[in-house]
Every structure is written in C-alpha cells, then in structure tokens.
Amino acid sequence: MTISPSITSPERRPLRLVGLLPWLFAGVVIGYAMLVGGYAATVVSFALIYAVFVTGLNLFMGFAAQVSFGQNAFAAIGGYVSAVLTATYGWGPLPAMVLGMSAAVAAAAVIGFPALRLKGHYLAMGTLAIGLIAYEITVEWQSVTQGYMGISGIPPFGIAGYEITSDRGQLVMLSLIVAACAFAAARIRRSRFGRALSAVAGSEEAALALGIDVSRYKLMAFLLSAGFAALAGSLFVHVVGFVSPEVFGLHMVIVTFTMLYVGGIGTVAGPLIGALIVSLLPETFRAFKDYQDLAYGAALILLLIYAPRGLASLFAPRGRS
C-alpha cells in the first residue's frame, strides 16, 4: 500500500513550551533547597527519592494502566540489600545497589509471572499482599534485618572512595538521577515499547489483535517499575543512613499513590511534580499548627477537584501521546 511519499511531521509548535513549566517549577524548588540547605534540603531530597519510585510506579500504573499496591516490596528489597551489604558486610554502595536492583527485578519476575494473570481489583489485592509479606519478612528475619530495631551505620552514597556527604552534594546527585529517570520515561513514552504499553492500557483485545504480546508487556512494565522502586529504596538508606521496616510500609504506598495522582498519572513530569508537591504541602501548612493535617487534606481535595488528571496534565497539550 504505497500511496505517496510521505512528509515528515511538522516540527514542535510553540505550544509545547508550556510543557516545560512543570520542569521549571521543579528546578526552582530544587534550586531553593540548594540555596537554603538544612531542613529544606532534607525535605526536597526525600521528595526526589520518592520521585524515582513514583516514576517507576507510573510506568506500570500510568503507561500500562495496571495497578500495584505492592511496589514498596521492591523498594524494601533494594533498601535492605544495600543496607545489609554495605553496613554488615562492608560492600561499596554501588555494587550493593546494583545487586539490590537485580534482586528486586528477579523477585518481580517470580511474583509477576503468576500475579499478572489477575486483573483490576484482583491484581490490586494480590499486589497489596506482596507488600504486606515483604513487610513481615523485614520484621521477622531478625538475623539479617534486625527486625524493628533496623540497621544503622549505612554509609552515604559514593563512587570509588569519594563519598557524597553534604546536603547539597546529595541534592545534586538525586537531581541527576531523577532527571535520568524522567528522561528514560520520556523516551519510553515515544517509542515502539511505550506505544505497546499504551495499547495495553487502551484495549487489551485491540492490542492482541494487532499482534502485541499483552502479558509480556505487562510483565516488562512490572519489572521496570520494580527496578525503579529498588533504586529509590537503595537511595533512601544511603541518604538517611538507617533503615527499618516502617520505612517501606503501607505508609509509602499511600504517599506514593497520592503523588502519582496529584502529579498526573501517565504523564512524564507528573511523578516529579507530585512528589515535590505532596512532600512540600504539609510543610507549607506548618503555621496552622494543630490544623496542619486538616489544611493538607483540604489542599489535596482541591487539587483533585480542579486538576483531576493531575497537575502535569494541565500543561500537556491534548491528544499528545
């Protein structure tokens, strides 16, 4: 079916510049934290670690439109492998992190193969169980994880003997990692692989009819998501220097879901924006004292009423992939 030599698409329109606004916002927040340092730097550092996790969650839940309440299990695997290998066995942070991510992806493969046969609510319940089981293991396997006591004395992240200890150094490192994650998500979005995920999200039957191996792409998105989660878990233990089961508990699931939906599920900038907003909002309401949580809750409700597809989607031209 050759009809006519085709013309390449018109180049980016000025409209697309609006899409840069979320990134500008993130840059300003991170720049501010770097100038001020101290507590602000700590809050933004945690936000950036969450952004890594949520970027991964978004690949599975946003791009492929599946659901997982259990990605915290993979953050726990990444975090604990890093913690145990560096604090207990004296490994370098980088090889420990790589091994932690590999272990998480391997676990995701073993779990995902049967679990991804579930759909909708059943998949949600099944994955919730994964997170709860991981939590129990971190509590009960005391010889390795030291239970509720947690593991302390985890060295800061560093490469080849050079350790990143300052607030600002960590912010720079985390910003670079988040930028790399967002870049990866953006490239995946506009590729054959990303289109296949969108097809799975849009209609599994139509995807199958076009020869897309739906189960395989779901599994791939799940593995990728687990890899990002493990990276975030590992970053967390090195930045804080301590890990306990609570770090990767149900609280993490709730916070990261909020970030994903507030930021904009299925968008590229959404995870970072959501992570920053959800981390900073409670801080901005500190002056409300006893009513801080109430104000935070009200702000979230307003956000979801006026930006139901998330903040980042306000800046995305319609109809773009």
Binding site: M1, S191, R192, G202, A209, G211, I212
Partner: protein, 268 residues
C-alpha cells in the same frame, strides 16, 4: 490455494451451539462476506478464527498452517488481523499514534533501543511514521493525525480502526461489521476502500448487515443462520437462494423463534 479454510468448526457455550460444524474456504483473492441474521453466530465465528475464542471442535487453517486454538497475538503475527464490531481504539493516543501501534509487528525496537535510540531504531521509527501517514492519507484521516482518537466522529473512528489494522500489513483482514452506524456516503467510501485493499492483494473477509455494501463489494458470500452455514456463492446466487430468503424473511422456517440470549452470547 485458499487463504483460510474452516473445517467443521464448532463452538458451544454450555448447551448453546453458537457455531455449528461450519466449513468454508476463503480464496486469497477478493472480498468474502459472511452474512446472516442477528445472533446467527457471525461474530463468534470471527473470534474463533482470530484466536480470541478456542473452538470446541474443528480445524482452522491459514495459508496451509493449522492455527486452531493459537493465541490471538500469534495469529496476528502470521498476518491475520481483525477489527471489532464495537470500535476499540486507543482513545488517549493521537490518531497517528493509533496507526503507529498498528505497525507493531513490523518493528523490532525493544526497551533498550527506546532508551538508547540507536540509528537502527531511529530508522525504524521514521519508517513507522511514513507508513502510518500513508495509511492516514489512504483512509482520508491525514488532516486529523494529531487529534486524540476519542475526539473523532464515529464514522472516522471506524476508518481509523481500519487504518490501524492495515498498518499491521495483514495477508487477511477480518472486518466485523465495518459499516455499522455509517451513513450512506460513509458506507460508499468504505466500500471503495475495501475494494482497494482487496485489489492491492490483501484478502478481505467481512461480516456485514449492510446489504448494499455486501452486494457492491463482495465477490463471494457465505450465509450462516443458527450457527450453521446455509448457503454460499456469488451475491446474485445467494440472493436468489430460497434458504437465505427464508432465513431473512422468517418463512417458512421458524427463524423468528430465535432467543435473545442466543443473540447476546453470539455477539458478546
């Protein structure tokens, strides 16, 4: 050699026999239509051919190879691609990206070429873009390439689904009531496009209620009723066949006793 061959294909849902021992050949050339009253089992038949349902009995051969009970994505990979009676677009994607998804089988790029974007992946992407735009031009959707698929009017959505299926480069395309809901003008345009597809060498097998479209477009017609094949031949032969007239007009055979549950199952 026939492109597609059905031998004694049967599908039961509990006690209901939705497709009953159906056999026919689809030659590689031209357009073959499957017609029949509502609930006759036409859509079930398509689901069996395209692998969305396994047959209870019988054999389906595509280009000489047994595809009975194969998974839908592997049947599509062999070059047998279907569309759906109820349009199933990827609504959040643009019109162009919908067709690009259709090109999936023609690419190889995986996760690593998505991330690293080597020269081979960029070349592949350029080919996909060109192919998708050609197909949009062919179906008259070129000006709407950047619109979200969900924003298209219904008739255009059907065209988009056709363009997307053609992007897969099928040897045989199954069209499930492609003219459903189209006005006379749209239906005529569709008829010309289907003819073009067949003339360009893709075998077309379609289910249709729109008799004008069938009579103008089809080279051969297979008539099914109550899951059984009752006639086969050229449009003219079929139109004159007493069994077909009986099935459609309800006399003298008791086709008006058809139960609503049978219709639902067959179309679900």
């Amino acid at each position: 050699m026939s492109r597609l061959r059905l031998e004694g294909v049967t599908r039961r849902f509990g006690g209901l026999v939705a497709v009953d021992n159906v056999s026919f050949d689809v030659p590689a050339e031209g357009v073959t239509a499957v017609i029949g009253p509502n609930g006759a089992g036409k859509t079930t038949l398509f689901s069996l051919i395209s692998g969305f349902l396994p047959p209870s009995a019988g054999k389906i051969t595509f280009d000489g190879q047994d595809i009975t009970g194969h998974a839908p994505q592997s049947i599509a990979a062999r070059g047998l691609v279907r569309t759906f009676q109820l349009v199933k677009l990827f609504e959040d994607l643009s019109v162009l990206d919908n067709v690009k998804v259709g090109c999936h089988l023609h690419g190889k790029a995986g996760l690593f070429s998505a991330l690293l974007r080597p020269a081979s992946a960029r070349r592949e992407e350029a080919q996909v873009e060109a192919r998708a735009r050609d197909l949009l031009a062919f179906t008259g959707l070129a000006a709407l390439a950047d619109e979200p698929a969900s924003a298209l009017p219904y008739g255009r959505q059907r065209m988009l689904e056709l363009a997307r299926a053609m992007a897969a480069g099928p040897k045989l395309i199954l069209l499930d009531e492609p003219a459903a809901g189209l006005n006379a003008e749209e239906s005529a345009a569709l008829s010309r496009i289907i003819r073009r597809i067949a003339d360009d060498g893709t075998t077309v097998l379609l289910i249709e209620h729109d008799m004008t479209l069938v009579m103008n477009t089809a080279d051969r017609v297979v008539v099914v009723d109550f899951g059984r094949k009752i006639a086969q031949g050229t449009p003219a032969q079929v139109r004159a066949d007493p069994a077909v007239i009986a099935a459609y007009l309800g006399a003298p055979e008791p086709s008006d006793t058809e139960s609503p549950s049978a219709q639902e199952t067959a179309h679900g």
